[in-house]
Protein backbone atom coordinates (compact mmCIF):
# COMPACT_ATOMS: atom_id res chain seq x y z
CA UNK A 1 0.00 0.00 0.00
CA UNK A 2 1.17 3.46 -0.86
CA UNK A 3 1.42 6.73 1.01
CA UNK A 4 -2.31 7.28 0.61
CA UNK A 5 -3.02 3.88 2.14
CA UNK A 6 -4.73 2.63 -0.99
CA UNK A 7 -4.00 -0.74 -2.58
CA UNK A 8 -2.46 -0.39 -6.01
CA UNK A 9 -4.16 -1.54 -9.18
CA UNK A 10 -2.80 -2.25 -12.66
CA UNK A 11 -4.29 -3.53 -15.87
CA UNK A 12 -2.49 -4.51 -19.04
CA UNK A 13 -3.55 -5.37 -22.58
CA UNK A 14 -1.31 -7.87 -24.39
CA UNK A 15 -2.27 -9.93 -27.48
CA UNK A 16 -6.02 -9.56 -27.39
CA UNK A 17 -8.77 -7.51 -28.96
CA UNK A 18 -9.32 -5.03 -26.14
CA UNK A 19 -12.75 -6.42 -25.30
CA UNK A 20 -11.52 -7.20 -21.78
CA UNK A 21 -10.84 -3.53 -21.21
CA UNK A 22 -14.41 -2.77 -22.28
CA UNK A 23 -15.55 -5.63 -20.04
CA UNK A 24 -14.17 -3.73 -17.06
CA UNK A 25 -15.94 -0.53 -18.17
CA UNK A 26 -19.15 -2.58 -18.28
CA UNK A 27 -19.28 -2.67 -14.51
CA UNK A 28 -20.45 0.95 -14.98
CA UNK A 29 -20.79 3.17 -11.86
CA UNK A 30 -19.14 0.48 -9.77
CA UNK A 31 -15.96 1.41 -11.59
CA UNK A 32 -15.96 4.60 -9.55
CA UNK A 33 -15.84 2.55 -6.36
CA UNK A 34 -12.95 0.57 -7.80
CA UNK A 35 -11.15 3.76 -8.77
CA UNK A 36 -11.77 5.13 -5.33
CA UNK A 37 -10.69 2.02 -3.46
CA UNK A 38 -7.52 1.50 -5.44
CA UNK A 39 -4.80 3.76 -6.65
CA UNK A 40 -4.40 3.05 -10.34
CA UNK A 41 -0.67 2.88 -10.95
CA UNK A 42 -0.54 1.40 -14.46
CA UNK A 43 -3.29 1.00 -17.02
CA UNK A 44 -2.23 2.13 -20.48
CA UNK A 45 -5.81 2.47 -21.72
CA UNK A 46 -6.76 4.76 -18.85
CA UNK A 47 -3.68 6.58 -17.58
CA UNK A 48 -0.34 7.62 -18.99
CA UNK A 49 2.35 5.62 -17.24
CA UNK A 50 5.38 4.40 -19.17
CA UNK A 51 7.02 1.01 -19.03
CA UNK A 52 10.10 2.57 -17.48
CA UNK A 53 7.94 3.83 -14.61
CA UNK A 54 6.76 0.28 -14.00
CA UNK A 55 10.33 -0.96 -14.20
CA UNK A 56 11.16 1.47 -11.40
CA UNK A 57 8.46 0.05 -9.06
CA UNK A 58 9.70 -2.13 -6.23
CA UNK A 59 8.83 -5.81 -6.46
CA UNK A 60 5.29 -6.57 -5.27
CA UNK A 61 4.44 -2.86 -5.50
CA UNK A 62 1.14 -3.56 -7.30
CA UNK A 63 -1.52 -5.27 -5.19
CA UNK A 64 -3.77 -6.42 -8.02
CA UNK A 65 -2.89 -6.70 -11.69
CA UNK A 66 -5.43 -7.78 -14.30
CA UNK A 67 -3.53 -9.03 -17.32
CA UNK A 68 -5.55 -9.50 -20.50
CA UNK A 69 -4.36 -10.84 -23.83
CA UNK A 70 -2.08 -13.71 -24.71
CA UNK A 71 1.68 -13.71 -25.22
CA UNK A 72 2.48 -13.31 -28.91
CA UNK A 73 5.37 -10.83 -29.00
CA UNK A 74 8.54 -10.28 -27.06
CA UNK A 75 6.92 -7.13 -25.70
CA UNK A 76 3.99 -9.17 -24.31
CA UNK A 77 6.47 -11.52 -22.70
CA UNK A 78 8.55 -8.75 -21.21
CA UNK A 79 5.47 -7.11 -19.70
CA UNK A 80 4.23 -10.41 -18.33
CA UNK A 81 7.54 -10.97 -16.58
CA UNK A 82 7.73 -7.38 -15.41
CA UNK A 83 4.18 -7.30 -14.06
CA UNK A 84 4.66 -10.67 -12.40
CA UNK A 85 7.63 -9.33 -10.50
CA UNK A 86 5.85 -6.12 -9.56
CA UNK A 87 2.49 -7.63 -8.56
CA UNK A 88 1.37 -9.41 -5.43
CA UNK A 89 -1.64 -10.87 -7.22
CA UNK A 90 -1.51 -11.44 -10.95
CA UNK A 91 -4.77 -12.41 -12.64
CA UNK A 92 -5.05 -13.91 -16.13
CA UNK A 93 -8.05 -11.86 -17.12
CA UNK A 94 -10.21 -13.07 -19.99
CA UNK A 95 -9.95 -15.92 -22.43
CA UNK A 96 -6.74 -14.81 -24.21
CA UNK A 97 -4.65 -14.69 -21.04
CA UNK A 98 -6.44 -17.75 -19.69
CA UNK A 99 -6.17 -20.06 -22.70
CA UNK A 100 -5.22 -18.20 -25.86
CA UNK A 101 -8.68 -17.46 -27.27
CA UNK A 102 -9.12 -16.47 -30.94
CA UNK A 103 -5.50 -15.23 -31.36
CA UNK A 104 -4.46 -18.74 -30.26
CA UNK A 105 -6.05 -20.17 -33.40
CA UNK A 106 -3.05 -18.70 -35.19
CA UNK A 107 -1.06 -21.59 -33.71
CA UNK A 108 -2.43 -23.76 -36.51
CA UNK A 109 -0.04 -21.94 -38.81
CA UNK A 110 3.62 -21.04 -38.79
CA UNK A 111 4.67 -17.50 -38.01
CA UNK A 112 5.93 -17.14 -41.58
CA UNK A 113 2.65 -18.47 -42.93
CA UNK A 114 0.73 -15.88 -40.93
CA UNK A 115 2.98 -13.07 -42.18
CA UNK A 116 2.71 -14.27 -45.78
CA UNK A 117 -1.05 -14.31 -45.56
CA UNK A 118 -1.41 -10.99 -43.77
CA UNK A 119 1.11 -9.12 -45.92
CA UNK A 120 0.74 -11.01 -49.18
CA UNK A 121 -2.03 -13.41 -49.93
CA UNK A 122 -5.04 -11.93 -48.18
CA UNK A 123 -7.54 -10.49 -50.69
CA UNK A 124 -7.43 -7.03 -49.18
CA UNK A 125 -3.63 -6.73 -49.34
CA UNK A 126 -1.82 -4.77 -52.00
CA UNK A 127 1.92 -5.20 -51.52
CA UNK A 128 3.61 -5.41 -54.94
CA UNK A 129 7.12 -5.20 -53.50
CA UNK A 130 6.25 -7.89 -51.00
CA UNK A 131 7.39 -5.96 -47.93
CA UNK A 132 7.33 -7.57 -44.52
CA UNK A 133 7.42 -5.74 -41.20
CA UNK A 134 10.94 -5.35 -39.83
CA UNK A 135 11.68 -5.07 -36.14
CA UNK A 136 14.41 -2.46 -36.72
CA UNK A 137 14.40 0.46 -39.10
CA UNK A 138 16.76 3.36 -39.42
CA UNK A 139 15.19 6.68 -40.28
CA UNK A 140 16.83 10.07 -40.60
CA UNK A 141 15.37 10.88 -37.19
CA UNK A 142 16.93 7.80 -35.62
CA UNK A 143 16.36 4.07 -35.16
CA UNK A 144 12.88 2.72 -34.58
CA UNK A 145 12.01 -0.66 -33.20
CA UNK A 146 8.82 -2.65 -33.01
CA UNK A 147 8.31 -5.83 -30.98
CA UNK A 148 9.14 -9.15 -32.58
CA UNK A 149 6.46 -11.78 -33.02
CA UNK A 150 7.02 -15.07 -31.17
CA UNK A 151 6.61 -18.44 -32.89
CA UNK A 152 3.34 -19.26 -31.16
CA UNK A 153 0.83 -17.59 -28.91
CA UNK A 154 0.76 -18.86 -25.36
CA UNK A 155 -1.53 -18.15 -22.45
CA UNK A 156 -0.10 -16.06 -19.62
CA UNK A 157 0.67 -19.04 -17.40
CA UNK A 158 3.03 -20.49 -19.98
CA UNK A 159 5.47 -17.67 -19.27
CA UNK A 160 4.85 -16.67 -15.65
CA UNK A 161 3.20 -17.93 -12.53
CA UNK A 162 -0.46 -16.90 -12.38
CA UNK A 163 -2.49 -16.45 -9.17
CA UNK A 164 -6.03 -16.53 -10.58
CA UNK A 165 -7.89 -16.97 -13.82
CA UNK A 166 -11.00 -15.03 -14.75
CA UNK A 167 -12.40 -16.64 -17.91
CA UNK A 168 -14.61 -15.24 -20.62
CA UNK A 169 -14.43 -13.37 -23.90
CA UNK A 170 -14.77 -10.95 -22.31
CA UNK A 171 -15.43 -11.72 -18.63
CA UNK A 172 -18.99 -10.67 -17.90
CA UNK A 173 -19.64 -7.57 -15.83
CA UNK A 174 -21.56 -9.24 -12.95
CA UNK A 175 -18.70 -11.70 -12.56
CA UNK A 176 -16.02 -8.99 -12.62
CA UNK A 177 -18.01 -6.99 -10.12
CA UNK A 178 -18.36 -9.93 -7.78
CA UNK A 179 -14.62 -10.55 -7.84
CA UNK A 180 -13.79 -6.89 -7.32
CA UNK A 181 -16.25 -6.60 -4.44
CA UNK A 182 -14.82 -9.70 -2.81
CA UNK A 183 -11.31 -8.29 -3.09
CA UNK A 184 -12.36 -4.87 -1.83
CA UNK A 185 -14.25 -6.33 1.13
CA UNK A 186 -11.11 -8.16 2.17
CA UNK A 187 -12.85 -11.54 1.84
CA UNK A 188 -10.60 -14.55 1.79
CA UNK A 189 -9.77 -15.52 -1.77
CA UNK A 190 -9.84 -19.10 -3.04
CA UNK A 191 -6.58 -21.05 -3.28
CA UNK A 192 -3.98 -19.84 -5.71
CA UNK A 193 -4.47 -21.18 -9.23
CA UNK A 194 -8.28 -21.12 -8.98
CA UNK A 195 -10.63 -20.02 -11.70
CA UNK A 196 -12.66 -17.19 -10.20
CA UNK A 197 -15.53 -15.11 -11.52
CA UNK A 198 -17.20 -18.13 -13.10
CA UNK A 199 -19.42 -21.08 -12.26
CA UNK A 200 -18.45 -24.66 -11.53
CA UNK A 201 -20.88 -26.38 -13.89
CA UNK A 202 -21.41 -26.36 -17.63
CA UNK A 203 -23.34 -23.86 -19.72
CA UNK A 204 -25.88 -26.65 -20.39
CA UNK A 205 -26.56 -26.91 -16.67
CA UNK A 206 -27.71 -23.31 -16.65
CA UNK A 207 -29.40 -23.29 -20.02
CA UNK A 208 -33.13 -22.59 -20.12
CA UNK A 209 -33.68 -24.61 -23.31
CA UNK A 210 -35.33 -27.99 -23.32
CA UNK A 211 -32.92 -30.78 -24.05
CA UNK A 212 -34.28 -34.07 -25.30
CA UNK A 213 -30.96 -35.63 -26.27
CA UNK A 214 -32.07 -36.09 -29.85
CA UNK A 215 -29.83 -37.76 -32.40
CA UNK A 216 -28.92 -35.88 -35.52
CA UNK A 217 -28.01 -36.74 -39.10
CA UNK A 218 -26.74 -33.37 -40.23
CA UNK A 219 -25.21 -30.27 -38.74
CA UNK A 220 -26.63 -26.83 -39.21
CA UNK A 221 -25.01 -23.43 -38.97
CA UNK A 222 -26.53 -20.18 -37.80
CA UNK A 223 -26.85 -18.09 -40.91
CA UNK A 224 -27.95 -20.99 -43.06
CA UNK A 225 -30.74 -22.14 -40.75
CA UNK A 226 -32.85 -20.40 -38.15
CA UNK A 227 -32.81 -22.01 -34.70
CA UNK A 228 -36.08 -22.63 -32.91
CA UNK A 229 -35.95 -20.58 -29.67
CA UNK A 230 -37.02 -23.07 -26.97
CA UNK A 231 -35.37 -26.30 -27.99
CA UNK A 232 -31.76 -27.27 -27.22
CA UNK A 233 -29.58 -26.07 -30.08
CA UNK A 234 -27.56 -29.25 -30.17
CA UNK A 235 -30.79 -31.25 -30.49
CA UNK A 236 -31.55 -29.08 -33.52
CA UNK A 237 -28.19 -29.83 -35.09
CA UNK A 238 -26.40 -26.58 -34.28
CA UNK A 239 -22.99 -27.08 -32.74
CA UNK A 240 -23.40 -25.62 -29.29
CA UNK A 241 -20.39 -25.85 -26.97
CA UNK A 242 -22.59 -25.78 -23.87
CA UNK A 243 -21.68 -29.34 -22.80
CA UNK A 244 -17.96 -28.54 -22.90
CA UNK A 245 -17.97 -25.03 -21.45
CA UNK A 246 -17.77 -23.70 -17.91
CA UNK A 247 -20.82 -21.86 -16.68
CA UNK A 248 -20.68 -18.27 -15.55
CA UNK A 249 -21.81 -16.18 -18.49
CA UNK A 250 -25.46 -16.71 -17.68
CA UNK A 251 -26.05 -18.42 -21.03
CA UNK A 252 -25.83 -15.15 -22.95
CA UNK A 253 -25.47 -16.68 -26.40
CA UNK A 254 -28.06 -19.43 -26.05
CA UNK A 255 -30.53 -16.86 -24.72
CA UNK A 256 -29.88 -14.77 -27.83
CA UNK A 257 -30.73 -17.81 -29.97
CA UNK A 258 -27.12 -18.39 -30.85
CA UNK A 259 -25.08 -21.50 -29.98
CA UNK A 260 -22.52 -21.28 -27.17
CA UNK A 261 -19.06 -20.74 -28.64
CA UNK A 262 -17.17 -21.87 -25.57
CA UNK A 263 -15.48 -18.69 -24.34
CA UNK A 264 -15.51 -19.61 -20.63
CA UNK A 265 -13.24 -22.55 -21.37
CA UNK A 266 -13.35 -26.11 -20.12
CA UNK A 267 -15.54 -26.93 -17.12
CA UNK A 268 -13.82 -28.06 -13.90
CA UNK A 269 -12.02 -31.41 -14.21
CA UNK A 270 -12.04 -31.34 -18.00
CA UNK A 271 -8.54 -31.24 -19.36
CA UNK A 272 -9.23 -30.50 -23.00
CA UNK A 273 -12.30 -28.54 -24.04
CA UNK A 274 -12.14 -29.51 -27.70
CA UNK A 275 -11.82 -33.21 -26.93
CA UNK A 276 -14.77 -32.92 -24.58
CA UNK A 277 -16.90 -31.28 -27.26
CA UNK A 278 -15.86 -33.77 -29.88
CA UNK A 279 -16.89 -36.50 -27.53
CA UNK A 280 -20.26 -34.89 -26.77
CA UNK A 281 -20.91 -34.42 -30.45
CA UNK A 282 -20.04 -38.04 -31.24
CA UNK A 283 -22.81 -39.07 -28.88
CA UNK A 284 -25.49 -37.23 -30.81
CA UNK A 285 -24.63 -38.38 -34.33
CA UNK A 286 -27.35 -40.72 -35.47
CA UNK A 287 -25.44 -43.37 -37.38
CA UNK A 288 -23.53 -46.57 -36.85
CA UNK A 289 -22.46 -46.90 -40.43
CA UNK A 290 -18.81 -45.92 -40.89
CA UNK A 291 -19.38 -44.47 -44.34
CA UNK A 292 -22.30 -42.37 -43.27
CA UNK A 293 -20.38 -41.26 -40.16
CA UNK A 294 -17.52 -40.05 -42.38
CA UNK A 295 -20.00 -38.14 -44.46
CA UNK A 296 -21.61 -36.46 -41.47
CA UNK A 297 -18.22 -35.56 -39.98
CA UNK A 298 -17.11 -34.30 -43.39
CA UNK A 299 -20.03 -31.88 -43.39
CA UNK A 300 -18.60 -30.11 -40.33
CA UNK A 301 -17.09 -26.82 -41.25
CA UNK A 302 -13.76 -26.16 -39.51
CA UNK A 303 -14.06 -28.74 -36.69
CA UNK A 304 -10.74 -27.76 -35.09
CA UNK A 305 -11.64 -24.07 -35.01
CA UNK A 306 -15.12 -24.88 -33.73
CA UNK A 307 -14.17 -27.21 -30.88
CA UNK A 308 -11.03 -25.28 -29.90
CA UNK A 309 -12.13 -21.77 -30.82
CA UNK A 310 -10.97 -20.41 -27.46
CA UNK A 311 -8.70 -23.08 -26.05
CA UNK A 312 -6.32 -24.24 -28.77
CA UNK A 313 -3.29 -22.58 -27.17
CA UNK A 314 -3.98 -24.47 -23.94
CA UNK A 315 -5.08 -27.81 -25.42
CA UNK A 316 -3.14 -31.06 -25.46
CA UNK A 317 -2.66 -30.43 -29.18
CA UNK A 318 -0.32 -27.54 -28.41
CA UNK A 319 2.24 -30.06 -27.24
CA UNK A 320 2.32 -31.86 -30.57
CA UNK A 321 4.65 -30.56 -33.23
CA UNK A 322 3.36 -30.62 -36.79
Amino acid sequence: MGENGKPKFAMYWAAGCGGCEIGVLDIQEALLDVADFFEIVFWPVAIDVKYKDVEAFEDDYIDLCLFNGGIRSDENKHLAELLRAKSKTLVAFGSCAHEGCIPGLGNQYSKEGIMDYAFGESPSTENPENHRPQTHYTMPEGDVEIPAMLDVLTPLDAVVDVDYYIPGCPPQAPQILEVMQAIMSGAELPPKGSVIGAGTKTVCDECPRERKEKKIKEFKRPGTAQPEPEECLLDQGFICLGPATRSGCGGLCVKANSPCRGCYGAPPNVEDQGAKMLSALSSVIDSSDPEEIEKIIGSLDDPLGTFYRFSLAKSSLRRLAK
Binding site: Q108, A275, L278, S279, G298, P303, S315, L317, R319, L320
Partner: protein, 141 residues
Protein backbone atom coordinates in the same frame (compact mmCIF):
# COMPACT_ATOMS: atom_id res chain seq x y z
CA UNK B 1 17.31 -41.44 -36.43
CA UNK B 2 16.88 -43.91 -39.26
CA UNK B 3 13.54 -45.65 -39.20
CA UNK B 4 15.34 -48.97 -38.72
CA UNK B 5 16.51 -48.15 -35.18
CA UNK B 6 13.43 -46.27 -34.16
CA UNK B 7 11.30 -48.25 -31.72
CA UNK B 8 7.89 -46.63 -31.61
CA UNK B 9 6.06 -46.24 -28.33
CA UNK B 10 2.47 -47.23 -28.81
CA UNK B 11 -0.35 -46.98 -26.31
CA UNK B 12 -3.21 -49.41 -26.79
CA UNK B 13 -6.57 -48.97 -25.10
CA UNK B 14 -8.08 -52.45 -25.01
CA UNK B 15 -11.63 -53.14 -23.94
CA UNK B 16 -11.78 -55.67 -21.17
CA UNK B 17 -14.42 -57.91 -22.67
CA UNK B 18 -13.19 -58.56 -26.20
CA UNK B 19 -9.86 -57.09 -27.20
CA UNK B 20 -7.98 -57.61 -23.95
CA UNK B 21 -9.13 -61.22 -23.93
CA UNK B 22 -8.06 -61.43 -27.57
CA UNK B 23 -4.62 -60.18 -26.53
CA UNK B 24 -4.49 -62.83 -23.82
CA UNK B 25 -5.32 -65.46 -26.38
CA UNK B 26 -2.52 -64.22 -28.63
CA UNK B 27 -0.22 -64.68 -25.65
CA UNK B 28 -1.41 -68.13 -24.63
CA UNK B 29 -1.26 -69.20 -28.28
CA UNK B 30 2.37 -68.00 -28.29
CA UNK B 31 1.82 -65.77 -31.28
CA UNK B 32 4.64 -63.40 -32.09
CA UNK B 33 4.07 -59.69 -32.39
CA UNK B 34 6.17 -56.61 -31.64
CA UNK B 35 6.45 -55.57 -28.01
CA UNK B 36 5.99 -51.85 -28.74
CA UNK B 37 2.42 -51.56 -27.60
CA UNK B 38 1.74 -50.80 -23.95
CA UNK B 39 -1.75 -52.15 -23.30
CA UNK B 40 -4.17 -50.30 -21.05
CA UNK B 41 -7.23 -52.23 -20.03
CA UNK B 42 -10.46 -50.23 -20.16
CA UNK B 43 -13.98 -51.43 -19.50
CA UNK B 44 -15.19 -50.55 -22.97
CA UNK B 45 -13.80 -48.81 -26.05
CA UNK B 46 -16.54 -46.25 -25.35
CA UNK B 47 -14.67 -45.37 -22.17
CA UNK B 48 -11.78 -43.99 -24.16
CA UNK B 49 -12.25 -40.27 -24.04
CA UNK B 50 -10.56 -38.43 -26.92
CA UNK B 51 -8.61 -36.45 -24.34
CA UNK B 52 -6.93 -39.70 -23.25
CA UNK B 53 -5.72 -40.30 -26.80
CA UNK B 54 -4.45 -36.74 -27.09
CA UNK B 55 -2.72 -36.94 -23.73
CA UNK B 56 -1.01 -40.19 -24.75
CA UNK B 57 0.34 -38.53 -27.89
CA UNK B 58 1.34 -35.39 -26.04
CA UNK B 59 3.06 -37.36 -23.27
CA UNK B 60 5.24 -39.50 -25.50
CA UNK B 61 3.31 -42.02 -27.59
CA UNK B 62 4.09 -42.17 -31.29
CA UNK B 63 0.83 -43.93 -32.01
CA UNK B 64 -2.37 -44.86 -30.21
CA UNK B 65 -4.63 -47.84 -30.84
CA UNK B 66 -8.17 -48.18 -29.62
CA UNK B 67 -9.35 -51.77 -29.70
CA UNK B 68 -12.91 -52.83 -28.96
CA UNK B 69 -15.52 -55.48 -29.57
CA UNK B 70 -16.94 -55.81 -33.06
CA UNK B 71 -20.01 -53.64 -33.66
CA UNK B 72 -22.99 -55.45 -32.23
CA UNK B 73 -20.87 -57.30 -29.66
CA UNK B 74 -20.13 -54.53 -27.17
CA UNK B 75 -20.75 -55.69 -23.63
CA UNK B 76 -22.55 -52.40 -23.03
CA UNK B 77 -24.45 -52.64 -26.34
CA UNK B 78 -23.61 -49.32 -27.90
CA UNK B 79 -20.35 -48.26 -26.27
CA UNK B 80 -18.39 -49.01 -29.38
CA UNK B 81 -20.89 -47.17 -31.59
CA UNK B 82 -19.79 -44.05 -29.79
CA UNK B 83 -16.16 -45.02 -30.40
CA UNK B 84 -16.95 -45.50 -34.06
CA UNK B 85 -17.92 -41.83 -34.29
CA UNK B 86 -15.38 -40.39 -31.89
CA UNK B 87 -12.23 -41.81 -33.38
CA UNK B 88 -12.87 -40.56 -36.93
CA UNK B 89 -13.82 -37.15 -35.55
CA UNK B 90 -10.63 -37.03 -33.50
CA UNK B 91 -8.62 -38.01 -36.57
CA UNK B 92 -10.25 -35.21 -38.55
CA UNK B 93 -9.22 -32.73 -35.88
CA UNK B 94 -5.66 -34.10 -35.69
CA UNK B 95 -5.33 -33.86 -39.44
CA UNK B 96 -6.58 -30.30 -39.48
CA UNK B 97 -4.01 -29.44 -36.82
CA UNK B 98 -1.25 -31.00 -38.89
CA UNK B 99 -0.69 -34.30 -37.07
CA UNK B 100 -0.86 -37.42 -39.23
CA UNK B 101 -4.21 -39.06 -38.40
CA UNK B 102 -2.65 -42.46 -39.14
CA UNK B 103 -1.10 -42.22 -35.69
CA UNK B 104 -4.47 -43.15 -34.25
CA UNK B 105 -6.15 -46.37 -35.21
CA UNK B 106 -9.40 -48.02 -34.25
CA UNK B 107 -9.79 -51.78 -34.72
CA UNK B 108 -12.31 -54.37 -33.64
CA UNK B 109 -10.80 -57.49 -32.08
CA UNK B 110 -12.98 -60.16 -30.49
CA UNK B 111 -12.03 -62.47 -27.61
CA UNK B 112 -11.42 -65.32 -30.04
CA UNK B 113 -9.28 -63.34 -32.48
CA UNK B 114 -5.81 -63.75 -30.97
CA UNK B 115 -4.37 -64.00 -34.46
CA UNK B 116 -6.11 -60.84 -35.58
CA UNK B 117 -4.81 -59.04 -32.48
CA UNK B 118 -1.22 -60.02 -33.31
CA UNK B 119 -1.79 -58.97 -36.90
CA UNK B 120 -3.20 -55.48 -36.26
CA UNK B 121 -0.57 -54.72 -33.63
CA UNK B 122 2.24 -55.80 -35.96
CA UNK B 123 0.81 -53.86 -38.83
CA UNK B 124 0.28 -50.68 -36.80
CA UNK B 125 3.75 -50.88 -35.25
CA UNK B 126 5.33 -51.03 -38.70
CA UNK B 127 3.18 -48.19 -39.92
CA UNK B 128 4.25 -45.99 -37.00
CA UNK B 129 7.85 -47.05 -37.43
CA UNK B 130 7.63 -45.81 -41.00
CA UNK B 131 6.05 -42.52 -39.91
CA UNK B 132 8.86 -41.93 -37.42
CA UNK B 133 8.68 -40.36 -33.97
CA UNK B 134 5.86 -37.98 -33.11
CA UNK B 135 7.61 -34.69 -32.50
CA UNK B 136 6.62 -32.45 -29.66
CA UNK B 137 6.86 -28.79 -28.92
CA UNK B 138 8.69 -27.95 -25.77
CA UNK B 139 6.34 -28.88 -23.04
CA UNK B 140 4.75 -25.78 -21.56
CA UNK B 141 2.80 -25.63 -18.32
Amino acid sequence: MSSADFEPTIIGFLCRWCSYTGADLAGTSRLKYPANMIPIKVMCSGRVDPSMVLRALADGADGVMVLGCHPGDCHYHEGNHKTMRRVPMLKTVLEQYGVDPARVRLEWVSASEGDRFAEVVSEFTEEIRALGPQKRTESVA
